[in-house]
Amino acid sequence: MFSFLINPSKFNKFTDIIFKPLVFISSVILIVGLILVYLSPLDYQQGLTVKIMYIHVPSAWLALLTYAIMTIYSIIGIAFKMPFSFIINRAVAPIGAVFTLLCLISGSLWGKPMWGTWWVWDARLTSVSILLLLYLVIIFLNQTFENRDVREKTIAIFIIIGSINLPIIKFSVDWWNTLHQPASISKLSAPSIDGSMLQPLLVMTIAFSLIGLMIAVLRIKAEILIRKNH
């Protein structure tokens, strides 16, 4: 049933069916999300700048999610010798890099008016910039090595080792004193965002995820074609 996740030809068949609906649904959700963001109330202390959150948080979520997916595929790719994993790794790394960059830029634009600085080297900001460096190394590694097997294995091992950074990013705000505030949503208790602001945030997160998925499908299909012709 889920074999399209590991088999290139089944992936192609499955995504041919879902791609058009995916484009339609993600555009609709994005438009709804943007309207909800426009209508969302101003924060009691941050005012209008709180709306940067609706870009910043979905980008951060996708930056981490993309890396987590790459890690899972790298592990099964090496353990079970599954070439489709390496197609995924190569296709989605730039997507993760772009979302990480978007997260850093929007965070910086948010930090200047609220904290009074574009950038500080606290644990959260530093660990996310390390994530961007990891993505860049993965993209560059894809351009190296004549031998494809060696290249794919090297990249997969690099991705697995780099995944140690993910829990560090997540918990950096709890383990150390940082200028970045702790998480608002992922606590076990009720979220500390009011419902009227949480709702547009969730819709925007879904919209960003679907758009990310859309680009990923296109890139994976292209990558499959490239492999076929070599």
Partner: protein, 146 residues
Amino acid sequence: MSLRFQRLVLILITLVILGAAVLLILFNTKKNIVFFYTPTELIEQNIFSEGKIRIGGYVKDSSLKKISLNQYSFEITDNKNDLLVFYQGILPDLFREGQGTVIEGLIVNQKTVKALKVYAKHDENYMPASIKKELEKNNQWKRDYK
């Protein structure tokens, strides 16, 4: 156990060991990773360096004083210990009494700091401005919500 599952287990064990090693390093260098010290940490651990240091806490209520056009003094507190801060420059928009803050500056003496930079630190609570007004009207405005 088949070869592929052996490989899977090997990878996972490697990842766990590597992760543990990195975490051990990070927690043992905690001093260098924290972005700021609280006033209590500063006094208890006796960190009085010559160089720049960052201190974080809340701006104590009714301690913010304007000395001249862009010179301020205020007290930074973690509800146990206070430090008196002098600052010359522009304060961030969010900076006010009761709000979290991080300052970067030089220690003058045990109780006084000369700030070179002042950052505002906000918490993880988000709420529409209209609700805050309602809460204040009904006297439901809670301290933890800040």
